[in-house]
């Protein structure tokens, strides 16, 4: 199966990040299902010129709404990344299981992103996820004590299609806090394209009720869809497009533990209908 047009990647405006897309992007063979979980499947290869043309956009001059539909690559300044590691050092020295100052760090991060024109609107929180080198997924299911694999970045209960028209609850973006490169793996298709592909194959199937169902149907139905792998250098991060994408962190091939800062937009989960 070939890569389809969908979400594009660009360096966020007001950031200077060497894009080097041919080095930064790889394409995998497809998706592997393992006990109801989905993982990218190699081998990984460089993109063809045609695939690069489909995936990469020139950010210069990009403005909403195009910008909102783009995966924006950005770089955390060194002083903020140092501040994170200093927090850890101080917590370790104090023998503190908590992380005093993390809230302040999160506020500073929010101020920086807002200055750069990538504001995190509404309520949000920061989570730090540490993964073992070589782990198949940066998402962990604590109840099952196993890697959780790829899923939609929006909260799975977000209604489809109404809930996916704005930024909201779920992953806003992520930042590689480590000193070593890491990767994100993702399906480049936004919800509408996922649905269109599913309809093409199964026109009579009723529409998915929520984002989680839509993502799972696609992953199960298209095991040969090429997964894009985005390399993130130390301090580099991405902001996801409005409506989210199916993705995961991918610490494969790493020597050191993967340290990923997740910026998560929050919204109260609606209660059961009365």
């Amino acid at each position: 199966m070939t890569l389809l047009p969908g979400c594009r990647f660009a360096v966020a405006p007001h950031f200077h990040v060497p894009a080097d897309w041919p080095r930064r992007l790889r394409i995998g063979a497809g998706i592997e299902e393992d006990d109801g979980r989905f993982f990218p499947r190699g081998p990984w290869r460089p993109l063809t010129a045609e695939e690069l043309g489909l995936l990469v956009s020139d950010a210069a001059g990009l403005a909403p709404p195009d910008l909102d539909a783009t995966l924006c690559l950005f770089q955390l300044p060194e002083h903020l990344r140092s501040a994170w590691w200093q927090l850890l050092d101080e917590a370790a020295a104090a023998g503190d299981a908590g992380l005093a100052g993390f809230d302040v760090f999160g506020e500073q991060l929010g101020e920086f992103l807002a200055f750069k024109g990538l504001p995190v609107a509404g309520e949000a929180r920061c989570d730090v996820v540490v993964s073992k080198p070589g782990q198949r997924s940066a998402r962990w299911d604590p109840e099952a004590n196993r890697a959780a694999g790829m899923s939609c970045s929006l909260a799975p209960w977000v209604s489809w299609p109404d809930g996916a028209s704005a930024r909201g609850p779920g992953l806003w973006g992520a930042i590689n806090l480590g000193d070593e490169e890491t990767s994100a793996v993702l399906i480049n298709l936004p919800g509408k394209e996922l649905e269109a592909e599913l309809r093409r194959r199964r026109p009579d199937e009723p529409a998915a009720a929520d984002i989680g169902e839509l993502a799972e149907r696609f992953l199960r139905s298209y095991p040969n869809y090429p997964v894009a792998r985005l390399l993130l250098g130390p301090g580099e991060g991405y902001r996801l497009p409005v409506g989210g994408l199916i993705l995961d962190g991918y610490p494969e091939g790493k020597q050191e533990p993967d340290v990923l800062l997740l910026i998560v937009q929050e919204e109260a989960k609606p209660g059961p209908a009365s």
């Binding site: 200077h16 300044p77 002083h79």
Partner: protein, 395 residues
């Protein structure tokens, strides 16, 4: 009663605060925003002209208090250390009253070596290094004549200054591009152990007839940049000293306000004396040296070899220039709420932006004075960076 230029009283002259000497107009690089018209010329100040320069300065009566001697208006390090050793000896010979004179170099740092560092340290010379931040900002504008970036060589010079323990400040020219990158600039200064920074804005001066900062929306972007940068600088450990904050905070906190008749270094006659490599001299903004205008002719008022201060100040040439600049300062005083903190905008900016010295607000005023004062006041009120460093180098 005549409306023409009024005689200038001798008491209005000086005292000399800043002596700008141009050892050569030549610069080894070719910055896109440079205002020097002859930067490709390899002329240099002769020993005889240097001797006449110091004789003229100390005979003028302007040198009545400690002053700064700034080697600038070209890349001063193009000439060998021996030139400056000889100049320093000459300065001492002519400075018979032993006035403290602080020498200063404004340089791109690319030609520094151990010999230079030894000289700078021995003579306690102040160094200002021109560097515009990370390569994607610096190398966009500060290039060789072949179009190559110059940051690597500037950083080699900075490393050498650190190794040889020669203290220095940095001047960064802010273009429109830079206003999106306060964090990146802050990281750059920290990475290279730069503890003191001054921001100049990309000005419209002489042959540089348009600035990227003339675009729509720049004043607000400039304020956002400054606010963010100053907050970062104040929170650093140790804090990063920023001239724009220090001078603005000094003006705000000192309680001293400039009243009628007040003039600043740049618009007060003979507080600054600029002397070109051929001995031609001017006063007011250093950028005027070597330039001319239809109304005033050359801004050079005389030559140290032939013209005394008395003769020049009595000339119609000087009186017309001084009169127009004085009227411009008066207009500032009448019309601008910032005057008590500013004392009137730089004459060179007025002339090159407004076409006359008898004018008021410029882009330089809006950004470098008004925005800096406003943002500093905001931060002082918030208690951010409330400790200002009063000692600053000339702009």
């Amino acid at each position: 009663m005549s409306d023409g230029p009024q005689p200038v009283a001798a008491a209005d002259f000086g005292p000399l605060e800043l002596l700008v000497l141009q050892p050569t107009p030549f610069c080894n690089i070719n910055c896109s925003y440079c205002y020097l018209p002859d930067r490709q010329s390899r002329r240099r100040m002769s020993g005889a002209t240097l001797e006449q320069t110091f004789r003229w300065v100390f005979a003028s009566g302007l040198a009545r208090q400690p002053f700064t001697l700034l080697w600038h208006a070209g890349e001063p390090l193009v000439l060998p250390v021996a030139f400056y050793e000889e100049a320093t000896a000459m300065l001492r010979r002519h400075n018979t009253d032993g006035l403290p004179v602080k020498q200063s170099f404004q340089t791109n740092a690319m030609l520094l070596d151990a010999g230079w560092c030894d000289f700078l340290r021995r003579e306690d010379i102040h160094i200002g290094v021109s560097v515009d931040g990370p390569a994607f900002l610096h190398d966009r504008h500060r290039r060789t004549r072949q179009g190559q970036g110059t940051l690597d060589r500037a950083l080699a010079g900075i490393r050498l200054l650190h190794e040889q323990e020669v203290p220095f400040d940095v001047i960064t020219v802010l273009t429109a591009d830079a206003l999106d990158y306060p964090d990146e600039l802050f990281d750059f200064y920290r990475e290279h152990n730069i503890g003191s920074v001054a921001f100049n804005v990309e000005e419209v001066e002489g042959p540089h007839t348009a600035s990227s900062l003339q675009q729509t929306g720049i004043p607000e972007r400039f304020r956002r940049f400054l606010r963010r940068f100053l907050e970062l600088a104040a929170s650093a450990d140790p804090p990063l000293s920023v001239r724009e904050f220090d001078t603005s905070a000094g003006a705000i906190l000192s309680g001293q306000r400039l009243g009628p008749g007040a003039r600043t270094q740049e618009n007060k006659p003979w507080a600054i004396v600029n002397i070109g490599c051929d001995g031609s001299f001017s006063t007011f903004s250093p950028e005027l040296l070597g330039l001319s205008s239809p109304a005033h002719g050359s801004f050079a008022l005389g030559n140290v070899a032939t013209d005394s201060l008395e003769a020049v100040t009595a000339s119609e040439h000087f009186r017309r220039l001084e009169d127009e600049i004085r009227r411009g300062v008066e207009l500032c005083r009448e019309r601008c709420a910032y005057f008590p903190f500013c004392g009137g905008g730089p004459p060179a900016n007025k002339y090159f932006e407004n076409g006359t010295f008898a004018s008021t607000e410029t882009m330089s005023c809006r950004l470098h004075k008004q925005a800096c004062l406003d943002v500093t006041l905001e931060l002082l009120e918030l208690g951010t960076g409330a400790t200002a460093s009063p000692e600053r180098t000339p702009e």
